[in-house]
Symmetry: C2
Subunit: 512 residues, 2 copies
């Protein structure tokens, strides 16, 4: 449009180089960069706090949110990086860096269009997901995206577009078997650790089940946390492939293989917002299953007042969406609605849940029968879906494999293949909580129970958590044990106890 | 529900005290706290990065987002605070602090309900606005709130509820006059500095106009920035009251009087998201006018392809909403749709816009006539609304007050009352950009022009910005000056020049 009327020579102020400093600040997952306010680059580039900047190290770069530092605890020629930024960029202390304004995120215009009511098409979904995976979205932009796609604002067609986009942006595993099965639980039920039973049962029957699981995000234990008390779970893809080719199944941590890189980013904002809409959940679950190469998947939806899905109506709507999106993307989905009114098994916490699993596999007296029955139901359905049992015969086949010890031998073999079987740890500090008065146990608040286990240290302290002593419906006498808290330190035990005493409705006991 | 079966004595780990450290990190407005990962409180409380924590100093407290530090540049017994957190909490270096988990924000359930499709009622709006003002919302929660209320998702009834809630949470000024006028421009037009003309014109006619204005947020100059080159603007409420009682009007920075504390918080996320929906905008504007005690307000909506409001249809929808919400809240709103196709006046940047204002007030030859005409139009409407002129006669009255020098004397008096009149600064470095070829100037991109002025240093460097030499429609010869860049440092000038040369469509010149 125009040209400077005179040459620029002499006008360009020399900008001294910046060097990298790792500040070891954990900003959760958002990459943050720190620059002194009196740093020449800050002024010449017009950077301000909250500017989105590109940080270049040779040919590599990341996009980070800037925090301007007015203090002198960082040097004027240093660019500090948060842990997320440091890990994403690589590099070493003191490495020379360049910085620039980040281009505005082009696909945010598609997000704004969605906010203003335009349906999300496949092109928009792909542009958005690509930018999300490339780390171009700030946390507040992610929050806007997630909000715009929550509630009833994403229909089935949009969910299909988003799922396709999330599949397209990641890798996709292929297996030698034509039929690859999987199971997934929509979550929200403490102790519901059926995966560690279903995988060995169906693998023992000859099916291929390359299972990836998550660590806990808001719960006291994820399946990966529980499995980790029995064997290593941080398998990379070649290791995972070796385990599955040898044993038919694995239970690996999904974070290490990153099957849905978009989901890994979205989740960091979804969780703190407490937004868990059907559309985003279906796209997240099915994109991961498709990326894992699954052809048939059984999805367990626990329904209960304090579970994630709270009504039969909500469960049916979710089931319908799972079916429709699965059909569109060529994956066979079978949904089971299960009882979500109380925790499953006795233990809540990584090691305590592993002990429950071992009791069921080893057919111990006193093994939690609810966990066993749920696992048999799910494994039976998987076996039918995987054509190892005729419709209606899956449950019996699953039971025989469990009762014979074949499933227990298979879990041991899988643990060995994943790097060696371990014995789950025991907590050093325990404390029994008892009923204040006699009566019938009529309700358990899953959410507060989960919080109690977390306060005791789970999942960071793998032996921490709690063990339940009374099921729903039990008649209790005053002073009868309700649960035992387990902790690895006295401070954590005290903290959990204080919480338990401040809450009067984790257990509802109706006097007779 | 239960009680510990044994006393807790001896279980509680002693937690050493934390002391305050000001880290001078500008995280923009979100309060952030920094704790070492090996700090005992971190572990005993189960704090993680992104935890929302309460920081207590005696009886005062704030809610902050936690960043966990794995380095040793902060002591293990220190709690670091970002600037926003430091300013909100008060206190001094080394002051003893206590911390706790923040309660989940209760009103976020109302935000989720809105996301899931429930209309925003007055109770929900009040609970939300109260929590927002109390600093309980994290930035991602604010982003979710704003997204949920954007697009066509907030109807007139919800806008009324939100506006009422925003008025209720702040203070409300009262004046001795029954009739208090105001003017507001929806913005998006560089150089549109009519306030500095309208206020002295209508105050000179005897109306009460306690005007508060914002500083630039995304633009090269806000009205407060421009006024600040002429007089102090950071007046507190008693000072503002003294000025208005003496001179009938003022031009103060709204941030210092905080008439809409909710808006001050929301804006920090609205702007970076680029979400500027009618509902939020109307609630923001009218809540501030009502809080300022205004009874009659003229609202200027510039309409143009690169202005904030881009079509007549959009302008009419916005005007309708302003009318309806104004009527519900008992404030008389009069809307003017104006030409938003090009910048107003010659200068863009705080001081350069002030020089334009002075030229108009002093009736200088070469004073920008477009700025003069817009100001007369708006001032005329305000005078009619304020019953100083009959319908149709306002423009003539405004012109006579401007031509007679009465408006110029009134601005000088207002500046003196605000703390003393100043002469706007001149930039040390200038550079002329010229047309590459002959032709007619058929379009100016307001957004890129604003960016160019910002790169030259505006508004932080008050003398920086640019002066336009050719209006839309002008016939240009090759090499004819288009604009002059003004900067306070050679680096900023070079930076703006580099941007200008990289853009080929700030000015569209059609060859004849």
């Amino acid at each position: 449009m125009s040209r400077a009327a005179a040459p620029l020579a002499g006008l360009v102020a020399p900008v001294p180089g910046l060097s990298l400093r790792r500040l070891r600040i954990d900003t959760y997952q958002e990459p943050v960069a720190y620059l002194r306010s009196d740093c020449p680059v800050c002024r010449s580039e017009g950077f301000e706090s909250r500017s989105r900047i590109e940080v270049w190290l040779g040919e590599r770069h990341i996009v980070a949110t800037l925090n301007v530092v007015h203090g002198d605890w960082i040097d004027v020629d240093q660019l500090g990086l948060s842990e997320a930024a440091w890990c994403a960029l690589g590099g070493s202390e003191g490495a020379p860096l360049r910085v620039a304004h980040a281009q505005p995120v082009a696909s945010m215009s598609a997000v704004r269009a969605k906010i203003y009511g335009r349906p999300l098409g496949i092109d928009a979904a792909q542009a958005i997901v690509r930018d999300v995976v490339d780390g171009r979205y700030s946390d507040i932009e992610l929050a806007a995206l997630i909000t715009a796609c929550s509630g009833d604002r994403m229909d089935v067609a949009e969910t299909i577009a988003l799922t396709r986009a999330m599949v397209a942006v990641g890798q996709r595993l292929h297996w030698n078997s034509e039929l690859v099965v999987d199971k997934h639980c929509v979550g929200g039920l403490p102790g519901n650790r059926t995966t560690l039973l279903v995988v060995p049962i169906v693998a023992a029957c000859g099916l291929t089940i390359p299972k990836t699981s998550s660590r806990a995000i808001t719960s006291p234990a994820g399946t990966a946390d529980t499995m980790e008390t029995l064997a290593p779970v941080a398998l990379d893809l070649p290791a995972m492939r070796r385990v599955v080719e040898r044993e038919g199944g694995c239970i690996a941590w999904g974070g290490a293989v990153s099957l849905s890189p978009a989901d890994d980013v979205l989740i960091r904002v979804e969780r703190p917002l407490g937004l868990d809409s059907d559309g985003m959940m279906v796209a997240s679950v099915l994109s991961k299953k498709i990326a894992a190469g699954s052809t048939h998947v059984v999805i367990d939806i626990p329904v209960g007042r304090t579970a994630k899905v709270r009504s039969q109506q909500a469960a049916h709507a979710l089931a319908h969406r799972l079916d429709a999106v699965g059909a569109a993307l060529g994956i066979n989905v079978s949904v089971i609605l299960s009882d979500g009114s109380q925790p499953v098994g006795h233990g809540v916490g990584p090691a305590l849940e592993a002990w429950d699993v071992l009791a069921v596999l080893q057919n111990q007296v006193g093994a939690p029968d609810d966990l066993r029955q749920r696992a048999l139901l799910l494994a039976g359905r998987v076996l039918e879906l995987g054509r190892k049992a005729a419709p209606g015969d899956g449950h019996a086949l699953a039971r025989s494999v469990l009762d014979s010890g074949a499933a227990w031998r298979k879990l041991q073999a899988i643990c060995e293949a994943q790097g060696g079987m371990r014995t789950p740890p025991h907590a050093a500090y325990t404390h029994v909580l008892t009923a204040l008065h006699q009566g019938r146990l009529i309700a358990i608040d899953n959410r507060r129970l989960a919080r109690l286990a977390k306060l005791a240290g789970a999942p960071k302290s793998p032996a921490a958590g709690l063990v339940l002593h009374a099921p729903l419906g039990a008649m209790l006498s005053a002073g009868q044990p309700l649960l035992t808290l387990h902790a690895e330190s006295p401070g954590e035990l005290a903290y959990a106890l204080a919480y338990a005493e401040s809450q009067d409705n984790i257990f509802s006991i109706q006097e007779a």
